[in-house]
Symmetry: D3
Subunit: 246 residues, 6 copies
């Protein structure tokens, strides 16, 4: 059975994901140091008790997630957060997290992956949002079907304001506010969040909008990284799917 | 027909809503100065083209909203925002907005109003969140019915983690992140937004959670203020309901 | 008759003026979006009602100025500013502004242009201030005459503390405070502003000082850019001179 | 001959001028500590070599000014500033400065004093600007004459946009940017500075504007404080007038 | 055997120590939440493995310290800090810390306590530094003996620049930089830290200086609070002395 | 006798020490401008009255130090600082200071110099800390002797937690807090400061720790720069040793 050292894994991931290029909302890398040698990795979108418990049942000893522990503040371990950290520590697990680097990566990231899965040609990067283009416009109703299939079984929230789709912006997770920065560049926007003001803004912009879910738009990057680790180190990696309709 | 001056109206509302007590994300008060004497007020949750157009059809000349124009930045009028401002200016309308003061007001605010409508006794204020209490616990299923009735026809998203309800926190609109500040004080939380992490956090906290919609939880304060103006000045005030399921 | 698109014009100007290199006090580029296709450009130093009215009379549909709308703050349109914006919007004009990039540009900027007009060889750039040099010193009285001629009919305010002139610093507009950063490098300073402390500082430094007016020192850059646009696109460009003795 | 201790003088002035109420651009109080017991005070608007030299000739041993040494930065003593500090130290002088407290003081400040000298009744304070009112409007031409007399021999720069004067705002020194905060409250503004944009702004506001000079509007407060010290301690105090037309 | 709830204890201590009055470098109050009902409290200066281990041996279940976990940053649990937190969590302990409130408290604080132990009358508070005074000056050599006795067995570092002692400033722990704020108010300063520049600064100031150790000057406040809790709640409280010569 | 100009000297030192690469706590370069032509340089660790007086006795006219005047604040010259500056100015001396650039320089800096003096091979730079390595581990007791010899007569404070030494981190002066950034990279740390928490942190890390004194660890860089100036300009340079055990 293969085993790897957690600091070597961190160096490997940092060299690929380059967290120093992002102004993020969490520490990217090891957030809780556990046993230094690990045998199996649980990969997932979000760090929570259900994810930890499942990982333990599956005999994983490292948790690698997109949403780890967020926030810059004085040290305070209370309530639900304390219970999560307690479970990690008592089981000698390591917690690693990569946030924005997994949204914006040019090869393994969520946004690039979604565009490629929809057969769009990558055209431009604006912050962590990626824009892709079809050679010829397609009907929105056809595009919609492709998106449904890609994110199945996630229910989509759709605001249609265009009959055709040619240029698509994608910002996974809570990306609805990035819409303004690409207003004049796209006809369709896919993200994982909708706000009260979104419906009217996209109507006034004349842009199609699809909310494909925060969770569902963010499984791509972490899965890619899981595959990369498995292929590079020959270690066992399991994607633990705590599906979340939000 | 009654008419009032927009600066007198602003002074009146400031004296009640005390915007200087809040560290807000927009200017509270007049955001766009139109005709100084106005005859009819359109009251609503959000400033957008549909709201402006309806207000114009209804012969209103002042727009009073909860969500006006947000953000602290250099002056730049483009795209959908430019078209909204253009419509206001070409019709000589005034735009007034009050944001956090309408969430946190002790008498007219959204949060206090929701608690009172559910027959809870006001107990404590934490930032703009209010906490209310029943004398004796009631069944969650009964509480749920009351909430459905209050926000009808808004579909509710519910995470039940408790059979009973006694102490309820309410933070209207985008308040899901305020949950942590009241973790040990409540058994049930009502807000207008749900995030990807919310389901697991409330499960781990053992707290019931109801998302009653950003829009639907924020109609109370602005309606109350509309009524107050009508009663105080005898001027015509109309609530314009651009219902939004988000 | 030639026509151009305002976004193409903005891209063209940004590629030359590189606003991202400056930490400025306003948004550089389109500040108010009007008709997308324009036929005639009004170029001028400052955005105000007199400038807007003249531009309208001259059938201009884009205003390109050095002093647009300044300040980073919450959105608030009131008083004189609201009336200016109203006039722009009701006439479907576009407002574009470039501030520091027009002071500091190496080819088209105010400071470089003034030095060249006085036959000085460009020697060094300190922030947006440029320093130029004569091969041999000339009498201040001769230099003074050249400066009078260049800025005619602007009355000059002069503090002479040197009989000769060899090395001259120029900072257009409100640049009196940049004097300290070039104290040891120049014998003469030209700017567009004088402060209460200036007379004594330049006397103690032994440096000649000429205030040639905020307005008069800032016509060069915007005129150059107007010429550049005319030559590049063949579109009509008119410099509108709202002369200001300050 | 009377003598006083510089720390006692500082305590006395702090108790009256309350520098802790202002967010200023310099340290208010002792800026350079010299001999602890002093016999004669030089009072003036601005700290510069001419002022220091005259004070030394007049046998003063404490300099009390409105404009001392400004700026929050690392310690660096060079060029003209080093020569000023050198002259202070070699002559064992003390430098004391009070800036905003002398503009905004309710009894001794520049702005209140100017309004009272023009027989206006004090009505309101907005930041450090004071607003005064006549019972009945007077002709601008009569008001102008009074202002000329008060600031004689200072040449005034005048923009007249109203025939009458009733409510006057005063902000001494570099106060032109405070105009916007009182736009709706006054018909006439007096300050000590004019900017390129001022002419058009006051024209569009319909407000009379008088620039009475930075220096000339700031002699009042420091003179009042000089008199107060003389009366309170019986020590010799001399106002040193380094007149400056700016 | 008495038991108390950790949240009640926190409320009690907050009501006395008022952490909201301080701009501190750590969270004051519960830093790690353990068992909610506790039976015995370990009180000490600093949180480290030796302190935790001793507290566990003594059957304590709450750690109350002056130096808890410092720093405002993203969540990262690694190396020695992870091992400390691990020991706390695996033993179900609670960690509470109060930092500046224990230096500056008027009754229970370190600085007030040291002054009182040396029979000085409290005179003034400057930030968290307290100043005390003898009615008549005493010889420094006599004062030195008293200080040695008070802090025994802590070796003192002494810079004597005065033969007599009358007015003494005390700032426990790392307080050497507060010396400048009391320069003119004291003849003798006691703190718990010495820096490279201190010797020359106190010589030039003519002030006696005693470094009585960071640890030794900070046992007073936490001991007082331990006594207060024992007396108020009747619960067992033990001071654990991990003596540190620094 | 050689003489040099202070501005040329500053340009020379800046070109080598590159102060713009550091985010420092003081201005690096000329802090007080004295006579422009100087004949002899006093080099030392810290700027204080004893150092100034000795330099004057030795006929030096430029003071070049590692610790000059620190802090970013409003101008205020009082107490001991005023007396130091007064002595500099009255003797027409120039004060130059370089702080972090002398700690972190790759060739002349304190940290590199200490590692080289102990025959360690330079391996890595982390901020201004340098790490060096022996080819084979040596006994700590042998290493200790070398360190004692290097810093003689400075008394060392030693916490031994390892029998062997192979990889050593050095951070001169107040560097104890940089220990955490190299925790996993070294077995031994040398610095010039110890804090109350240090003993326990290094024990828990299992790292040897030597406090060789703030002063004693910081003589290397400034001496090297003194030698460099002497060799480059042929001017007289004298190291003035105001030894300080801290």
């Amino acid at each position: 059975m293969m085993a790897i050292n957690i600091f070597e894994l961190e160096n490997f991931l940092n060299s690929i994901l380059k967290p120093w290029d992002y102004d993020d909302f969490c520490h990217n890398g090891i957030q809780i140091e556990g046993a230094h040698t690990i045998n199996k990795i649980a990969v997932g979108v979000s760090f929570n008790e259900e994810f930890i418990s499942t990982a333990i049942k599956e005999n994983c000893d490292l948790l690698l997630v997109h949403h780890g522990i967020f926030g810059k503040d004085f040290f305070e371990l209370k309530g639900y957060l304390k219970r999560r950290v307690e479970k990690v520590i008592k089981n000698n697990l390591t917690l690693m997290a990569y946030h924005l680097p997994l949204d914006g990566h040019e090869e393994y990231g969520n946004n690039v992956s979604i565009l490629k899965s929809l057969n769009l040609n990558i055209k431009e990067k604006v912050d962590v949002t990626f824009i892709g283009e079809y050679e010829d416009p397609i009907l929105f109703m056809d595009f919609h079907k492709q998106v449904e299939k890609l994110f199945n079984p996630q229910p989509l929230l759709v605001y249609q304001n265009n009959k055709f789709v040619k240029t698509v912006g994608v910002c996974s997770g809570g990306g609805s506010s990035f819409l303004e920065s690409v207003e004049n560049k796209i006809d369709t926007f896919i993200t994982g969040e909708v706000k009260e003001q979104t419906r009217n803004i996209v109507a006034e912009m004349g842009i199609n909008f699809i909310n494909a879910g925060h969770y569902s738009t963010e499984v791509f990057g972490i899965k890619n990284i899981g595959d990369l680790i498995r292929n590079s180190f020959g270690i066992e990696v399991e994607f633990i799917d705590i599906y979340n309709e939000i």
